[in-house]
């Protein structure tokens, strides 16, 4: 598959945007004053989010997890209402009600993060059902981690999607930890994508830190789904740089493991590749990083000036 220069720059830019957003979010959260609640960050897993979403339009849907900032940014959501949401402000994409773990941006096709592990899969089959029912060619991608493969939601949803031939792409980011428990403890097989065969669907395991590889594989999955052939599973091997949540001491991680994975950081790898290929030079890379930083700074400024919701907001929109 030939990937155009523009697409390569787009893939790189989206990953940098996510990393910049999450690094800044981390800093603000640690300062302890402005960002309430819990925060789950996805640094290290950007290639899965970007390689997938770069194949989708706003009419295609995604569902993501409690660690979902990256997917939502990759899909194209505006950073300002996202940041305002993390600050719990009224101009947040969910009016400050959802926070990091539960937010959605429906106009860009981000149908929701989820505080319940695996649950995005059960909802994703419904949106895919609607896409098929309404005779669109749209697809739904659902992100989940290795931990979610142990849920009943995984089996039920995959089985239902295959039975009803629904256009769902199951995107599993293996980041090696179900919260704090290593994959070797809770998954009895080497590759969970092998399970797709049990539902009569294609399933592949790939390097989830190679953004072009993810992009190519998802493009095959999208074609498969748009052709009405039912679900497709992609398992990408990646790594979570931070702990389960911010504040997690990570005492379960063997010494040296993080350092090994930092060498395989998807953004660092791709930056080197694009430099080598001459797609970008140092100056342009610096420029992209500055542009992303500016976008994030603007988002933070936007969030800071947005008011907190009035108490009445607690009682609005319970019913349509």
């Amino acid at each position: 598959m030939k990937i155009s220069k523009e697409t390569k720059i787009d893939l790189f830019t989206r990953m940098v945007k996510i990393r910049t957003f999450e690094d800044e979010t981390h800093k603000i959260f640690m300062a302890g004053k402005e960002m309430p609640g819990f925060l789950h960050l996805s640094q290290g897993e950007e290639a899965m989010a970007v390689g997938t979403c770069a194949n989708l339009t706003f009419d295609d849907a995604i569902y993501t997890t409690h660690r979902g900032h990256g997917c939502i940014i990759a899909k194209g959501a505006d950073l300002k209402p996202m940041m305002a949401e993390l600050f719990g402000r009224i101009d947040g994409c969910c009016k400050g009600r959802a926070g990091s773990m539960h937010f959605a941006d429906v106009k860009t096709g981000c149908m929701g993060s989820n505080g319940i592990v695996g649950e995005g899969m059960r909802l994703a089959i419904g949106t895919a059902f609607a896409q098929k029912y309404q005779k669109t060619k749209n697809v739904t991608a659902v992100f989940f981690g290795d931990g979610a493969t142990g849920t009943g939601a995984f089996h039920e949803s995959f089985n239902m999607a295959a039975t009803l031939k629904l256009p769902v792409i199951f995107v599993c980011s293996i980041n090696f930890y179900a919260q704090m428990t290593h994959k070797s403890v809770h998954i009895p097989i080497e590759h969970v994508a092998d399970r797709a065969a049990g539902y009569g669907a294609p399933g592949v395991t790939i390097d989830g830190n190679d953004v072009e590889l993810v992009y190519e594989e998802v493009s095959k999955a999208v074609k498969h789904c748009r052709a009405g052939k039912g679900p497709y599973m992609i398992e990408g091997i990646t790594y979570r740089h931070h702990g389960h949540f911010i504040g997690d001491p990570c005492n379960y991680r063997p010494a040296g493991e993080l350092e090994e994975w930092l060498k395989k950081d998807p953004i660092v790898l791709y930056e080197q590749k694009l430099l080598k290929e001459g797609v970008l030079d140092e100056k342009r890379i610096q420029q992209i990083k500055e542009e992303c930083k500016n976008l994030v700074d603007e988002a933070v400024a936007f969030a800071r000036q947005s008011p907190q919701p009035d108490i009445e907001e607690l009682y609005k929109d319970i019913l349509a």
Partner: protein
């Protein structure tokens, strides 16, 4: 009025009429297609609308309801069958964390118009896993409406209202009422959600019945009237949101209140109504508010034990006489 039809066909006709009216409405669940469900409630729908709109699924309650939430958020109007209400325990996650919260949580970016049908089956010896009435769990969930029809007329009207509602609605239907026949109005009509109905006017005591307990309450009222007692009988119809104003107005008139429901008394709908009435109507009450409901144990398969467990007309008559005595 039209010719008499059975409760279960009232549900069936309501769904079919709504499917004709609105192409976004579809039914989904285990056996809803050709078999029409275990008791034939959806029989014939697949013949008219095809398998695309009468969707048989694997036995995956969580995925059925999750699918409905995702489909509703994307613009469809699913009507799901969960069969026996005990099976709803397998999808409380989807109903509570997802369906009931989604609109509020996402800042009104979506609507979640979906109906979930669940059947209660007390009185059939169906035992601990097939007979429970769990509606009060769901009535405590903001964002999820709960209705309990009691006659063919309101079974049809509430189903049509539920399908047209822009919110998730749990529709609790009693197996023991499926064969009740009544004349129902011709043409299109709805029974509004959130309104109870004064079935019998009276002055001596207010009886609030929930779901199929209307049939028991009607028998009790006949007995009581023969003894010169004039109860006012209110059919609750909607469990969430509760129509307390109608109940308050009735209590103002009768000064006494008893609630009858099939579910357990503990943490039940009756407790909620009683608490609200004593808060708002304390000066109007001439007696403590009472409840006729199931005891705090499990429903039995064994007929003698089940009969003892379930509330009925005899127990209601005894309670009313005690309150007036």
């Amino acid at each position: 009025m039209g010719k008499p039809i059975m409760f279960q066909w009232a549900i069936n006709h309501a769904i079919a009429e709504e499917m004709r009216r609105d192409p976004t409405v579809f039914i989904i669940g285990e056996d809803v297609g050709k078999p029409g469900g275990p008791f034939g409630v959806t029989r014939g729908i697949i013949d008219e609308f095809g398998p695309e709109r009468a969707v048989d699924t694997p036995i995956s309650e969580g995925a059925i309801i999750g699918l409905c939430v995702g489909a509703a958020a994307a613009g469809l109007r699913p009507v799901a069958e969960i069969m026996f209400m005990n099976f709803i325990t397998l999808c409380v996650e989807e109903l509570y964390n997802q369906a009931s919260k989604m609109r509020w949580m996402f800042g009104a970016q979506v609507k979640v118009p979906m109906v979930v049908r669940a059947m209660t089956a007390g009185g059939y010896g169906a035992g601990p896993h097939h007979s429970s009435s769990l509606e009060s769990w769901f009535a405590s969930m903001p964002g999820l409406k709960v209705v309990m029809p009691s006659t063919p007329v309101n079974a049809k009207g509430l189903m049509k209202a539920a399908i047209r509602d822009d919110n998730p609605v749990l529709y609790v239907e009693p197996l023991s009422s499926y064969r009740i026949k009544a004349e129902i109005p011709e043409g299109d009509y709805i029974t509004p959600i959130g309104k109870c109905e004064i079935v019998r006017e009276g002055t001596d005591i207010t009886i609030v019945s929930v779901g199929r307990m209307l049939q028991e309450a009607l028998k009790a009222v006949d007995v009581l009237e023969k003894d010169g007692i004039k109860p006012e009988l209110i059919d609750l119809l909607t469990i969430n949101p509760l129509d307390m104003e109608t109940i308050y107005a009735s209590v103002k008139k009768t000064n006494r209140l008893v609630i009858i429901h099939e579910a357990k008394q503990t943490m039940g709908i009756g407790a909620e109504i009683a608490a609200s009435v004593q808060e708002k109507m304390f000066d109007w009450l001439d007696a403590p508010v009472e409840r006729v409901a199931a005891p705090f144990t499990h429903i039995a398969f064994q007929p003698k034990l089940e009969q003892h467990y379930l509330p009925d007309a005899t127990k209601l008559v005894a309670k009313v006489k005690q309150m007036l005595g």
